[in-house]
Every structure is written in structure tokens, then in C-alpha cells.
């Protein structure tokens, strides 16, 4: 399994996988924001295309703009200039409420920490986004349980986040992201708070799901150890992409 | 650095940290200050209001109705026996030996039927000596219409029923409710029919010179006030009065004066024979005459203290919440301070300082606002005349519908003290928790 991954990543290191249609297209994206008294230029003209089914890593030192880039793709934030489109929809043209709806149905998120609603159990957390999507209760329950099984946490279904380890919490977040059937899962430093072993386990799980569910993943990391698991590595430096 | 220096600079640092801590959660601190400031100002205004009400009650009772001390024959106190009179000799004796500043007014009482036109009702007669009455009570200043002058009748009201000029007419003042019952106004002539002391039926015409504001419930409903001479003429009472009312400048210590007058009266009675019926002479203070009212008036302080404590306890629970929250969310910080070598005692002191700062922050604007409200209450009063157009009668005395506050140091300090007491009490809980923090618990936060 590991060998395959390495081969795949070696092959696609310099360019998007050939023969698949683009899911995310960023053109000339810049982002400036004010932090205290200084203007920060987080992104300085990013051009990026992600193909469907990719398992890509976004790397760069802290402060290089990784989170900002993910926010743009995840419709959490708007660029100062440039264009971002996901699955053919121009995100820069959408209003707040539509962005909300867009996010709900198209994007799954796995954050660095505090991923779960603390007062809900693992199962309820996985179900939550599907509830917001307005799916029928029966389907929600089946899918939620199914994905909890997929991340091997079925026996912790009724535990609250407080009673789970960091790695378990992240896996629940992954299950939640997938259960909602998004086009794309964005993970911002999902392994940052985990020890090496748990981090590898989580990435393996994500990669497995990427292959089996044909789910597109983009995760940011500054951890060189996990890079070998990515099928494509996008490197961000000072707000610019240095790929290949 | 001497240990003393360490101590004082540490204390200064503590004060600084405590002050800073308070402003870390601006919303919470602001809210607490607003809540306690509000509570304090309301309590101060409440205290001022109650004190004012009690002062008004006391003032009414003594200045308008009861005076400070009264002298009667026992038979009059017990049965309102019209024959239980105070002989003129005794009146003179007491009057001649009054201590400086003490004033005396004689009164007589009786009943009659009063009528005007086709309306009639039972009335209570009160004979007074206008000049002396004016020195003891302020009845003369409490007229709804007309004047207090009882020297001669006012001219008849235009349109009033004509009276034969040959029949003498005497001036009277009547109660406000009585005026309503009889449909009488200033200038009307009422007829009084009574059973005189000699058993015959007395009858006379009386001009309404004035209508009294509500003061006392019986006076208001059925009172007819006249001079003692007029009273004696109607009731065929030759000598003596029923009541002597005294006022004294030292109204809070009536005891010695009561004993002095009593002794004087007893001495006189020893050398002059009192009429066989009517019993002994008895001298009583207003507190003895209307104990319920006196008790209510004296309750003012207690009521303010109890209500302050009760209401501040509710406010105190809110403070407890704020303080506990701020201590628990800072477990880690306390751990660091402990690790840096700050003793637990100092931490506790810091928490106390924080709550004192918080209370002071609330106390200053709260007191200012409360005193302002108190000032408004004292100056403009609170007008309840929409609810009580005829005033409020309580235990026989009728109070004005405009209630005024009375600001004393007590009415400001009581809620303030209660606030600080409750604050310190509420701080004990987080302080106690702080002492019990285990280092591991603290560091692990």
C-alpha cells in the first residue's frame, strides 16, 4: 500500500493528474488583510488547479498563507482579487447565504483542533452536517453509523469529544466530512496536534478513503514526515506557489 | 531590600495585578458594576423613601394629631366620658409651670347631630383654644378651603340658605369628608343638635369658616372644630376641658416631661378635690397613646436593613458567579504565580482585592445615583394622588398622598454596608476554593 502511494505521489509531483477534469481552479488570487496596524499580504497571485480525486498536500512554513488559501477554496473567505471556482461555480460571485449553502453541500472540513461540537456525541457530530443538509433521519443514521465504522470508531459512537483522544476526535471529523458527501475535503493541519504514530494512522485513513470513495482531499501541513503519503505536494512560500 | 520593602512592593504589585485582572473581561466587570450600582442606588432610594414615610408619619402623628404628650382624666381615656373633665384650676397650674419651650393646648370633645338642608349626620365636636392650639399642632395650616380664624363667622355664601339675623351664628371648621357628606362649603350654615351636659337638648347655628384637610380619620369624617367658649355654650359645660395636649422641643425624650407633668397633676389633685367621677389624672406620651403607629415608625430602620440584606443576597449570588468564574478560568495563571513563589495567602488577598475594586467601582456611581434619587424624592416627593386623592389613612391618621423622602446618613450607609458585607461574604467561596486548589490541578488547568 505504501509503495503504491509513493509511486503515485512521485508521478504527480510536478503537475495535476492527467485525464481528470479540474475540480478547483484558482486564478491570480491575492489576499490582503489588516492585522493590528500592519497590512499582511497573505497570498500574492496564486494559480492552482486541483483535479477530482486528488490527494494533495499543501506545505509551507507557518505564516506562508496555507490557511488563507484553504479558506478561499472552502468558501470561508473571499480573495482581495482573482478568481476561485469550485466544480464550475465562481465562489467570488456568491453572497453570504449562498456561500453557506455552498459550503454545506460541497465542502467538508477537518480542522487542526476543536473539530467537534463538544456537547454532541461522536455519532451526533457525524450526523450534524447531514441534518443541516436536510437529509431524511433514517438515511442520516445509517450513513453516520457507516462512516463511524469506516473510521473504526463505531464502539465510541455515544461518547462525547471530551472522552475521546485527539486522534479519535480527528477521525470523527473525517467521518463527518465524508458522510456529508462533499466534492472536496479540506483539512487544515489535521495532524498538528497528534503524535507521529497517530498522525500517520490518520493520513493513512484519509488516503484509503480517498482511493475507495474517490474523494478529493487537500490538506495543509508543515510536517515533512507526512509528505510522502501525498499524491501531490503543493508548496507555498511567501504567498506564492512553488510547485515542481 | 528589607523584608518590609519586599512586603510593600509585593502589595503594590498585587493591587496592580488585581486592578488589571478586573479589566480583562470588560463585559463581565461592566455588567457586574452596572448590576451592583443599580442595586445600590435602588436600595438607597428605598431607604430614603421609607425614612421619609416614617418621618412624615411621626410628624403627622405628633404635629397634627396627638402632640407629644397628652393629659386626661382616666374616665375620659377609658369611656370618653364627657363628665371626666380637667378642672380649670389644674389647667392653670400646669400652664403656669410649663418648662421652657413646652407648649400646651386644651381641648374639649362631644357629639352632636349636624345637618345642612335635608342632609344630616352624627358629628364629633372638638373645642380648641386657637392661639394655644397653634403653638402645639399645625392644624391651622392644614385647610382645604377657608381660614383658621375662629374669632368671627365669615359672611354667608351667596346662594346659601338664609338665616334669621336674630339668631347668633358661631364659626366652625369641619372635616373634609363631613363637608362632602353634608354638601357643605365655606360660608354655609350648619345646624348642630346635641344633648347637653345638663340633659337638655342644645341647638345652635354654625358658620363653616373653613374645611380641614384630611388629618385624622374621625376628624375628617365627622369633625366640627370650634372654640372652647362656643363648645361650652352649646354643651352647657361650665368649666374644665377634656384634654391637654403638649408639644416639646425634645420630642425623642418625652419620658422625663411626662413624669414631671404627672407629678404636678398629682400634687394639685392632692390639695384640691377632683370631681368624684372621672378618675385620676393620667399623662401619656404619643407612643403610649398610639403604640401601633409608634412601632411602625420605629420599624423604619429595621425594615431598611432587612430589605437591603434580602435584596443584596440575590445580587450577591450574581457576584459569587462572577468571582467564581474568574477564579476558575484562571487556574493555570494561579498555578504560575504559585510556582513563581507567591504564597496562597497573597493569591487570596488578590481575589479579595479584585472583589473590593469591583464593589468600589459599583459603590461610587451607585451611591451617586442613589443620593440623586434620594434628593429628588426629598425635594419633589412622590405624588400618589392619582391613587389616593383623599390621602392614605393608616391607624386612624390620614396621610397626604404626596410622600417625601428623608435622606439621612443611615439611609445611605445601610445599603452601602450591606453591599460590602455581601461582597466579602461572596468572595469567601472562591477564596476557599483557591486555598484548596491542588498544585497539580492548578498547573494542569
Amino acid at each position: 500500500m505504501n509503495t503504491q502511494t509513493t509511486e503515485a505521489s512521485a508521478q504527480s509531483f510536478s503537475q495535476p493528474m492527467a485525464g481528470t477534469k479540474p475540480l478547483v481552479v484558482m486564478e491570480g488570487v491575492t489576499k490582503r488583510y489588516r492585522q493590528g496596524d500592519v497590512m499582511v499580504e497573505a497570498l500574492r497571485g496564486v494559480n492552482l488547479t486541483l483535479a477530482e480525486g486528488e490527494f494533495s498536500a499543501l506545505v509551507g512554513p507557518s505564516g506562508s498563507g496555507k490557511t488563507t488559501l484553504l479558506n478561499m477554496i472552502g468558501a470561508l473567505d473571499k480573495p482581495t482579487s482573482g478568481r476561485v471556482s469550485l466544480n464550475g461555480t465562481d465562489l467570488t460571485q456568491l453572497s453570504g447565504a449562498k456561500l453557506s449553502a455552498f459550503r454545506l453541500h460541497q465542502v467538508g472540513f477537518v480542522f487542526q483542533a476543536y473539530n467537534l461540537v463538544p456537547v454532541l456525541t461522536a455519532l451526533e457530530n457525524v450526523a450534524f452536517v447531514m441534518v443541516l443538509q436536510g437529509r431524511p433521519p433514517k438515511e442520516i443514521e445509517q450513513r453516520a453509523m457507516h462512516y463511524l465504522e469506516r473510521v473504526e470508531l463505531a464502539d465510541l459512537a455515544h461518547r462525547r469529544p471530551k472522552a475521546m483522544s485527539g486522534g479519535q476526535q480527528q477521525r470523527v471529523a473525517v467521518a463527518r466530512a465524508l458522510a456529508a458527501e462533499p466534492r472536496l475535503v479540506l483539512a487544515d493541519e489535521p495532524t498538528a496536534n497528534l503524535d507521529t504514530h497517530t498522525a500517520f494512522d490518520l493520513l493513512d485513513l484519509m488516503h484509503e478513503l480517498n482511493r475507495e470513495e474517490k474523494m478529493t482531499f487537500l490538506f495543509s501541513t508543515h510536517d515533512q514526515r507526512v509528505l510522502e503519503r501525498a499524491s501531490r505536494v503543493i508548496s507555498l512560500h511567501d504567498g506564492k506557489i512553488e510547485e515542481g | 531590600m528589607t523584608p518590609h520593602h519586599t512586603h510593600s512592593s509585593r502589595a503594590r504589585m498585587l493591587v496592580f495585578i488585581a486592578w488589571r485582572n478586573l479589566w480583562r473581561n470588560r463585559f463581565r466587570t461592566g455588567l457586574s458594576i452596572a448590576a451592583f450600582g443599580m442595586a445600590l442606588s435602588m436600595m438607597i432610594a428605598y431607604g430614603v423613601f421609607i425614612a421619609g414615610e416614617m418621618k412624615q408619619m411621626r410628624g403627622y402623628a405628633t404635629d397634627l394629631v396627638l402632640g407629644h404628650i397628652q393629659l386626661h382624666r382616666e374616665g375620659y381615656v377609658k369611656d370618653q366620658d364627657i363628665y371626666a373633665q380637667i378642672p380649670q384650676g389644674l389647667v392653670k397650674e400646669v400652664r403656669d409651670h410649663l418648662p421652657p419651650g413646652v407648649a400646651l393646648a386644651p381641648r374639649t370633645y362631644g357629639f352632636a347631630m349636624g345637618s345642612l338642608g335635608s342632609l344630616s349626620t352624627g358629628v364629633m365636636l372638638r373645642g380648641i383654644s386657637p392661639e394655644e392650639e397653634a403653638r402645639v399642632t399645625k392644624i391651622g395650616s392644614r385647610l382645604k378651603s377657608g381660614g383658621f380664624d375662629l374669632s368671627k363667622p365669615v359672611p354667608p355664601r351667596p346662594g346659601a340658605e338664609a338665616v334669621s339675623p336674630r339668631i347668633p351664628v358661631h364659626p366652625v371648621l369641619i372635616g373634609h369628608q363631613l363637608a362632602r357628606t353634608l354638601h357643605a362649603q365655606v360660608g354655609d350654615t350648619i345646624t348642630l343638635v346635641s344633648q347637653s351636659l345638663d340633659g337638655s337638648i342644645g341647638r345652635g347655628l354654625y358658620r363653616v369658616n373653613g374645611v380641614l384637610s384630611p388629618i385624622e380619620i374621625t376628624l375628617d369624617r365627622m369633625g366640627v372644630v370650634m372654640t372652647i367658649e362656643t363648645f361650652q355654650e352649646l354643651m352647657i359645660m361650665e368649666d374644665g376641658v377634656h384634654e391637654l395636649v403638649f408639644s416639646t422641643p425634645d420630642s425623642s425624650h418625652t419620658g422625663p416631661l411626662v413624669r414631671q407633668i404627672q407629678q404636678q397633676a398629682n400634687q394639685w389633685a392632692g390639695t384640691h378635690a377632683l370631681s368624684p367621677f372621672g378618675g385620676q389624672v393620667t399623662v401619656r406620651s404619643w407612643e403610649t397613646i398610639n403604640p401601633t403607629l409608634a412601632q411602625t415608625v420605629n420599624m423604619a430602620g429595621t425594615i431598611t436593613v432587612i430589605v437591603s440584606l434580602l435584596f443584596f443576597s440575590i445580587a450577591g449570588i450574581g457576584l459569587l458567579n462572577t468571582l467564581l468564574m474568574s477564579v476558575f478560568e484562571r487556574k493555570k495563571e494561579f498555578g504560575i504565580l504559585l510556582a513563581l513563589g507567591m504564597g496562597r495567602g497573597w493569591l487570596v488577598a488578590m481575589v479579595f482585592l479584585e472583589s473590593i475594586f469591583l464593589t468600589l467601582g459599583a459603590a461610587l456611581p451607585g451611591t451617586a445615583l442613589g443620593v440623586y434619587w434620594g434628593y429628588l424624592l426629598e425635594t419633589y416627593g412622590w405624588d400618589f394622588s392619582a391613587y389616593l386623592p383623599d390621602g392614605l389613612d393608616f391607624m386612624g391618621i390620614v396621610f397626604e398622598p404626596v410622600l417625601y423622602g428623608h435622606m439621612t446618613l443611615f439611609s445611605v450607609l445601610t445599603p452601602l454596608t450591606a453591599l460590602f458585607a455581601i461582597t466579602l461574604l461572596a468572595t469567601l467561596v472562591p477564596a476557599w476554593r483557591l486555598i484548596r486548589f491542588q498544585p497539580v490541578e492548578v498547573m494542569g488547568g
Binding site: N71, Q112 | V307
Partner: protein, 425 residues
């Protein structure tokens, strides 16, 4: 392709809001204790206040002229003895046939001057049916000496103990009663004391004199009444159920009563009592405002802290696709649960206080040994707490309203949380 946002996920909101409330248990407990204690205190104040007022009103109604009074128009304004109801018997019959659940008492009320050789004082002479009038119940048991009156007794009266002392009379003594007449003259009648009662209420013991209708009627006959018609000055109606007063007032008005008669309720008969209750309520309402202000601050503090420390979580909910208004609703719901729980505890505590004082009463005899006389009536020295359904509804509604209001600002703060705030480390 864009599916619109799903309907508001009520179930999730309820679940999250309820559980969030119990996340910081200590804080919630303290807040709850503050609110419920304040509320219980309010229930106690209002219960005792209402109990005292109702007690005063009942005393006034029972000692006075019933829930409803029928008398001549204008009598209230100017109680003149010639304003009598000539056909008293007929009116009584008419009222009895109406099937009023309660009692009908024909009465003659007169202001008289009572004289003996010992003294002469004003008195309120009340002529009643000695066997059936509600006054008999109250006064007969207080009889100190002598006998109660009998129907048809043309001369007998019973008097209060203080009046007896003032007039120096005992059972068998004679008293001369004098009443004013329409022409400005006077009418006098001689009566005999049959008994002396003591109630402990000064107004009663000093001023009240009870006679049979037959005795008091003599004064009306002087004014030109025909004794055959059994003239009275008023008919008092006592209802078994005081809440039916409005209904029966309307029904009695609808009867074809003789011309010139009016049906008055106790509020119209004793307007000063109505004013007093309104005045006294101001005091209760002030404490209500005070306590509720504290409650509002307590809730605002707790909910606001809960919102501020959960900015991240709200950001997450937003990032996951929850709408701002759903967050707003979430916080309002939390406030609602808090106040509902506080109300439940508050009603248990306050209800307990109320039940205790409704059963055993609040003894104020240390302050008012003989009851408190005010506004023409008396409040007993032991007060029993009373709460009407309307009061319960008002207090509950007020707390809910204030709670929800104080939840608005924190809810607004939650509404403004952006999804980006979920990502800030």
C-alpha cells in the same frame, strides 16, 4: 446545483442548546439559584400582598354591605334618610327568586346620635333581619352579655362593648336615638340594650349598634315610609363565590328592579379601598422591578459568558453550514431553557413558601396586635398568602419575557460570529 439551506434544524438546536447549558454546571447552578431564589421571594411578596389585600376586601365586604348592594340612586353621594326603598319586601322577594347563590340581606343604615344620661356619641345604627343577616354570624359569637335580637323586636338593640362603656349602659338600659330628618328637624326613638358584643375591632366596638329592621324602620316611617311595604335603605347581596360578582351584577341589573334603584359592587361602594390596594401594590411592584433587574443581569452575565467563551464553537457551527439565525436561535433557546429551569425551581420554592403561608399564615400580631385599620377596613393580624391564576401567569410570563430579552444581546453576538473564527488558534 446549489441546494438551498435546509430547514432550521430544530432538533439539533434543542439538543445543543440544552446540553450547552449544562456544560458549565457550576455557573448554571449558581445562576439558577439566584434567579429561582429571587423568583421565590417575588412569589412570597406578591402572595402575601395579595393575601393581605383580599383579606381586607373580604373583611370590608363581610362587615360592610356585601359583594353587591342595591340602594337608591344618589344615596352613595348623599346618604339621606329619606332616600329609602319603600317596597323592601318586594325587592327582597324579587332577589330571592333570582336564585342568587349566596345570601340576600335587607338593611336599614342610619347615622344617629345615641344619648344616655352618662354621655352622648355618634353611632351607626344598622337594622337587620336578626336571624338571617350575615352580620349575625360575626357579632353573635362576640356577645359578652345579654341576648341576640329577635325578629319583630321594636325596641331592642345590641351595641359594641366600647360604645356601652362610653354610654355607661348595660343589658336593659335605655338609650335615646336621634336622627336628622328631611326638613332639617330631628326624630328621636327610645331603645333598650338587649346585649353587648365585643369584636376587638375598634371601629365596630365603638360605633356599631344593631337593631331589628322593625326598630330602625321607625325612623323611615318618620320620613313618610309605609311600614306595610317593609322599607329598607339597601339590600346587601353576599355571594358564595366572589369571582361570580361580575356575572351577578349584570344579572341583577337585567332584572326589572323598581325605578331609581342601582346595583353597585363593592368597588363602587368602597372606592377608597380600591385606591388603597392600587397604592399598596406599587410597593410590591417596586420590589418586583428590583428583583427582576437582578435576574436580568444574572442571565445576561451567564449567557454572555457562555457565548464569549464559545466563539470558536460557534465559528465551527457556521463553518459546517449553520446559518447565523440558527445560531441566534440557539442562544435564545439556551436562555429559554435557563429561565424555564429557574422557573420550575422557583415555583417549587416559591410555591412551597406560598403553600406554607397559605396554610399557616404570616403572623404579624407583633406589629399589629388587633389587625391593621386602614381605608375603612381592617387587615387581620395573620395574613394568608393567596395567588390567583392570573398572578401565576403574570409572574411566569414576566420572568420568561425578561429572560428572553436579556438573551437577545448575547444571541446577537453569536449571530455575528464568522466561520473564520473557528480556525483561529
Amino acid at each position: 446545483m446549489n441546494t438551498p439551506d435546509g430547514k432550521t434544524p430544530w432538533k439539533s438546536l434543542v439538543r445543543i442548546s440544552w446540553r450547552s447549558l449544562w456544560r458549565n454546571r457550576r455557573r448554571t447552578y449558581i445562576t439558577l439559584s439566584g434567579i429561582s431564589l429571587g423568583f421565590a421571594l417575588t412569589v412570597f411578596f406578591i402572595g402575601i400582598g395579595d393575601g393581605g389585600h383580599n383579606n381586607m376586601i373580604r373583611n370590608a365586604v363581610n362587615m360592610g354591605d356585601g359583594h353587591l348592594t342595591i340602594q337608591r340612586e344618589g344615596y352613595l353621594d348623599a346618604p339621606m334618610n329619606h332616600l329609602f326603598i319603600a317596597q323592601g319586601k318586594q325587592l327582597e322577594q324579587q332577589l330571592l327568586q333570582a336564585g342568587i347563590p349566596g345570601r340576600v340581606a335587607p338593611r336599614i343604615q342610619l347615622q344617629v346620635l345615641a344619648s344616655t344620661s352618662g354621655n352622648s356619641i355618634g353611632a351607626a345604627l344598622t337594622g337587620i333581619q336578626p336571624e338571617t343577616d350575615p352580620k349575625t354570624n360575626q357579632l353573635k359569637k362576640g356577645l359578652v352579655t345579654g341576648e341576640w335580637l329577635t325578629t319583630g323586636d321594636p325596641q331592642g338593640v345590641v351595641v359594641g362593648a366600647r360604645m356601652a362603656e362610653k354610654l355607661k349602659v348595660k343589658t336593659g338600659s335605655k338609650i335615646v336615638l336621634m336622627a336628622g330628618s328631611e326638613g332639617g328637624g330631628t326624630n328621636t326613638h327610645l331603645v333598650r340594650v338587649r346585649g353587648v358584643f365585643r369584636t376587638g375591632i375598634e371601629e365596630y366596638d365603638s360605633f356599631v349598634m344593631i337593631s331589628s329592621l322593625d326598630m330602625a324602620q321607625a325612623f323611615l316611617v318618620d320620613e313618610g315610609a309605609n311600614p306595610a311595604g317593609r322599607p329598607v335603605t339597601r339590600v346587601a347581596v353576599f355571594l358564595d363565590d366572589e369571582s361570580a360578582m361580575g356575572l351577578w351584577k349584570a344579572r341583577l341589573k337585567a332584572l326589572s328592579l323598581p325605578a331609581g334603584l342601582v346595583v353597585l359592587d363593592w368597588q363602587e361602594m368602597m372606592p377608597q379601598l380600591v385606591s388603597f390596594v392600587a397604592f399598596d401594590n406599587i410597593g410590591n411592584y417596586i420590589s418586583l422591578v428590583f428583583i427582576f433587574t437582578m435576574v436580568a443581569f444574572g442571565i445576561l452575565n451567564t449567557i454572555m459568558m457562555g457565548v464569549l467563551e464559545r466563539t470558536r464553537e460557534f465559528g465551527l457551527l457556521r463553518a459546517l453550514g449553520m446559518s447565523p439565525w440558527a445560531l441566534f436561535t440557539l442562544v435564545v433557546m439556551e436562555t429559554f431553557w435557563l429561565s424555564l429551569t429557574a422557573l420550575a425551581i422557583g415555583w417549587v420554592l416559591g410555591g412551597g413558601l406560598h403553600a406554607y403561608f397559605a396554610l399557616w399564615g404570616l403572623d404579624m400580631s407583633a406589629m399589629y396586635p388587633g389587625g391593621m385599620a386602614t381605608s375603612g377596613t381592617v387587615m387581620d393580624s395573620v395574613i394568608y398568602s393567596e395567588l390567583s391564576g392570573a398572578r401565576v401567569g403574570m409572574l411566569t410570563g414576566l420572568i420568561l419575557g425578561i429572560t428572553l430579552l436579556s438573551g437577545l444581546y448575547p444571541a446577537y453576538r453569536a449571530l455575528r460570529v464568522t466561520p473564520l473564527q473557528a480556525l483561529q488558534t
